[in-house]
């Protein structure tokens, strides 16, 4: 059963069409890049998948189910911005995730925190921006979810942090789960991707395995992207 299926998915905000008849299938065990410029509909698609938005027309199914409480159990979402409650400590945050998500692996999270020398009793409000982002990533990746949604995970981070993030994604790989990475920074991320989806103005321009694109066109996905999207 596909982890994510979209059929004719459409979403409008007033007169603006954010998504226009989108068809997507993501099978388990794939790391997918959702690639497009800002305003292309990436974030709208992600919000429809994690239930922050309701669909307009068309259909979206996660593991065969409509977005709701049941699908939220198996979707692990990393938002673009840091959203952690200030007053909690890292340890309390893990307790929070453990409380609400049965698939949260506290030991794995604790291990990742200690490897980054982040103390469990450190308060989130005393952490630097970079540390907060890493903590948020750790919470998301420490879940044994069916679908991971990462919204611009490497935008605005230093190269070491970027490598840590990509490394974490690779080492958390699980053949029954899928990862969707939404980004406009393709060069850094393309080696990690199985499949790529190019999206522009709410429409899918291209959906293919990354290796096929590189093989058939003799160019990197990044270069192909720049060609497709030059305006």
């Amino acid at each position: 059963m596909a982890v994510l299926t979209c059929r004719g998915l459409t979403k409008k905000f007033g007169s603006t069409v954010a998504l226009d008849g989108v068809d997507i299938t993501v099978e388990p065990g794939r790391i997918v890049g959702l690639l497009g410029p800002n305003g292309s509909g990436k974030t709208t698609l992600i919000k429809l998948t994690n239930g922050l938005l309701q669909p307009g027309a068309g259909e979206i199914l996660i593991d065969g189910k409509k977005p709701g409480v049941e699908t939220k159990r198996i979707v692990s979402y990393l938002p673009e911005r840091s959203c952690l409650p200030d007053w909690m400590t890292a340890g309390e945050l893990m307790g929070f995730y453990k409380d609400f998500y049965a698939d949260f692996d506290r030991d794995a999270a604790a291990g990742m925190l200690s490897r980054l020398s982040i103390e469990e009793k450190q308060k989130i409000k005393h952490m630097s921006k970079g540390t907060r982002e890493k903590v948020q990533l750790i919470m998301v990746m420490a879940r044994r979810a069916g679908l991971y949604l990462l919204d611009e995970p490497i935008g605005g981070v230093d190269p070491a942090a970027r490598d840590y993030i990509l490394n974490t994604i690779i080492s958390s790989y699980n053949p029954s789960a899928s990862v969707i990475i939404s980004t406009h920074l393709i060069a850094d991320v393309e080696k990690v991707l199985d499949d790529v989806i190019f999206i522009s103005c709410g429409k899918i321009m291209l959906a293919a395995p990354a290796e096929d694109i590189r093989e058939q066109r003799g160019k990197s996905v990044d270069e192909v992207f720049r060609e497709v999207f030059k305006c």
Partner: protein, 266 residues
């Protein structure tokens, strides 16, 4: 899941509310001491008199403000946790929107009740004095004896408390509804929330007026006046509760709709 939300909500709000309550009680105790020192024997230096007076004034301000401060903190909690950045985490939790609303409403009502208790305790603390406590004890004793002697007094007190509790829930819900409406827009969220709140208040008034005139059509003032006191009281309670349930229900529905379908996190 509601249980877990409640636990989390209590933890998150307690570490703002408990210090505020603690400070209020402390200031009350200090005000008590200052008042005594000022009325003590001998002349107190001017500087100390000023300080003591300030503390007593602080107590007065605190007592007046503590209810408002609690409301302010609860309203801000709903907004910051569900309508701003934390919303990205809260609304992707595997919990229903109903559980989210109830967790906020129940916990705010709890703190409103708690702040009333703190106000009473503060008054007791500031007037802590053997004579005054004896006097309060006397009055309390008389009230309790009156309750057991007179019919219905205990029931009436219970009914008043129930109405207060219901009122507290409905007030919470009206704030939540207004915030949910205001934050569905892209700009001027808080201004629109205030506007929405005023709108809800007006609608509430209109509704109450309409219901009252309906009641006037059905019965008449004479019929009402002819009821026994307890019957009249009961009718008023039921009417009040009914109105609050309808308005509370409407606010709940509005909040649920806007949080589910019109959520507009940045």
């Amino acid at each position: 899941m509601l249980g877990k939300l409640l636990k989390h909500e209590l933890r998150a709000t307690a570490h703002t509310m408990l210090p505020i309550f603690g400070v209020m009680l402390l200031v009350s105790a200090l005000a008590n001491v200052c008042a005594r020192l000022m009325n003590g024997p001998g002349n107190t230096p001017v500087v100390l008199t000023i300080i003591f007076t300030l503390v007593v004034i602080l107590f007065g301000v605190g007592l007046f403000a503590i209810g408002l401060v609690t409301v302010f903190i609860m309203v801000r909690r709903f907004r910051d946790n569900l309508l701003r950045d934390e919303g990205y985490i809260m609304h992707t939790l595997p919990v229903s929107v109903h559980a989210q609303i109830w967790s906020k409403v129940l916990v705010s009502s709890l703190w409103y009740a708690a702040s009333s208790v703190i106000m009473v305790l503060s008054v007791l603390l500031v007037s802590w004095d053997v004579d005054t406590i004896m006097e309060i004890g006397n009055v309390a004793g008389r009230i309790i004896r009156a309750m057991t002697r007179e019919d219905h007094v205990a029931e009436m007190i219970a009914e008043v408390l129930a109405l207060l509790a219901l009122g507290s829930l409905v007030t919470s819900l009206s704030f939540d509804a207004a915030l949910s409406i205001g934050h569905a827009f892209a700009k001027n969220k808080m201004a629109l929330s205030v506007l929405a709140f005023v709108g809800l208040l007006i609608l509430g008034e209109v509704f109450t007026y309409y219901m009252a005139s309906l009641a006037g059509d059905i019965g008449s003032l004479e019929t009402f006046a002819s009821l026994t006191f307890i019957k009249g009281w009961r009718v008023t309670c039921v009417a009040g509760a009914g109105l609050m349930l309808v308005m509370g229900g409407a606010c709940y529905g509005i909040t649920a709709f806007f949080l589910k379908r019109k959520l507009n996190l940045e």
